[in-house]
């Protein structure tokens, strides 16, 4: 887990829930930072291949921070700032891990991508 430094500047806090449990976090944090602070890196998210992953870059590059925010899956947790009442859910079951692959529009060619999306729907 990550701890907040004792000499950190006083910063307003917001309450969010992570997998249903409430946490108070500084309002400057990204969702990914809030999860790392309270849950640590282990079990941040499950990769389609089965292993667990956690954010590598924290700046929008690696996409290992994908997480469900207010019921919207696969948001880049490192690019979303926490807000009061935000509901954060880690994507740890197999279905969510697999969906990550299909739901994010990526570099596959149009036809290939469409084929997969249809299969998923």
């Amino acid at each position: 887990m990550f701890k907040r430094h004792e000499r950190a500047t006083a910063t307003p806090e917001v309450t969010i829930t992570i997998d249903g449990a409430p946490y108070q976090v500084p309002s400057t944090l990204s969702v990914a930072a809030a999860v790392l602070m309270h849950q640590g890196a282990a079990g941040y998210r499950r990769h389609a291949a089965g292993g667990h992953r956690a954010p590598l870059c924290m700046m929008g590059v690696c996409h290992d921070c994908l997480i469900t925010i207010d019921d919207a899956p696969n948001r880049q947790g490192c690019l979303v700032t926490v807000e009061q009442g935000m509901r954060v859910r880690r994507q740890l079951d197999e279905a969510a891990a697999t969906a990550t692959r299909w739901d994010t529009a990526n570099h596959a060619s149009g036809d290939e991508q469409r084929g997969r999306d249809d299969a998923d729907l």
Binding site: R4, H47, G51, A54
Partner: protein, 537 residues
Amino acid sequence: MQTCEPRETVGTDGSKERARVVVLGAGPAGMAAALRLAEAGLRALVLDQARAPGGQIYRDLDQPQLDAAVMGKDYHRGRALVGAFLDAARRGEIDYRPGTRVWWIEALDDALNDALNDGLNDAHRLGVRGHDGISRELVAERLIIATGAMERGWPFPGWQLPGVMQAGAAQILMKQGALLTEGPPVLAGNGPLLYLLAWQYLNAGCPPRMILDTAPNLGLARTLRHPLRAWRARGYLAKGARMLATLRRAGVPVVRGVQSLAAEGDQRLTGVRYRRRGDDQEHKLKTDWLLTHMGVVPEPQLPRGLGIEHRWQEAQQAFVPDRRDDLSVRPGVWLAGDGGGIGGAMNAEREGRLAALAVLDELMADLMDKPQDTTANAKGAAAPRPDADNRRAVARDSARESARAIARESAALRRRRRLDLSGRRLLDALFTPPADWVERQPGETLICRCEGVSQAQLKAALGAGPAGPNQLKAFTRCGMGPCQGRLCGTNVSRLMAREQGRDMDEVGYYRIRPPLTSITLGELALAPSDHLTTQSQ
């Protein structure tokens, strides 16, 4: 300057918006560019993905979380620039839009340009996902790309384990919320940022457990080979030496000549293995956190998405966009800051101003041209009145004077930029990542984290003789995941170049297509329909 506002404004129904100058990114380069334009009375539209301006280097300085005693003066130096930018935005001199992402960009062809833009100049169309999650289209008459750098993807066995992070990520957590790892981290790699982070952790009362330095031990020899550069880089070198001395005094062990590195653990990191050059013994170390760094490279998505040519720079071990002397990359587009080649924050600020001056220079040229083709004269109609002539002459003179002032300012900035960059090339030499690192890794090492493609799989696919990285992608899915090849792209090109005995420019890089950032199909469906039409053509 006249008409400073965008000529059309937001269409909330998702219709087109157009702006005279769009700046992409609010890091040092983007902020400096927008401020310089604002000084001249030109209101730039600034799109940035973050909550607050600053880029990565000056991020969260609107609410700094740790003081200069921990973070250092270089970080807090950015407060002046961030403050000035936010003040100008509050006064309405900059149209700043945080939390926005450009996922699509396209240069209009001539016919389309004439129809949409009255043939004024080359224009660019952008797909912008707003803070509200809705995509809109934006037409930019002139564009300054200032999207900065990212950390180099640096694969080794186990780098996908939770508990392994890039050094920049750890620093972002400090800037964002004064967050530090629980338990001392092990730092591995090379480059100024690695030592800066070690020093910041030490200042925060959490000295790193160990620093594993992967640089070949050529540092001093290389420095002495370039005495003039060493002199020009003395500021950087002295800063580095001070940090290193502080870390030594505090008893932080620095292991040099590290040649191999592996992260161990099942569902999270539990330890690190490493081997030193000329030492057969493998060393093991238990740790929950491994923070790695192997330098930064230009963030490729936007320039590549726009089709800008890139060239391999051996010294930076990176593909770098081709820029002209005035930082332009195509008509109406400039590239400023680390996105055009790594030069650091001070250089980025200078380049931002230079790009803004180039934009102003073009607009001045437009102004000076206009009085000459007075339609009244051309048609041989009524003789122009003397006072109107006089006013025109005065306007022309003042435009000429402004153009001269711009030229002087640019020249001074260019001179300082040249000196600074010359010193910085020495840093490149000191911190060159090992060129054979990727191919030296054990076969099971993931090169593509997103799709889980290993180095051995890639080498096997290379045996089938793919023509380039795009075909290799089709063979293996390497680079097809949500990060869009940003962590594997250069490594794949490198593997291919080595295995096939070709040079990097010949091998090239993935072809980057929209979406340039990940966007869900739902968001895509919300986008105005005409870009979807364009895309499917």
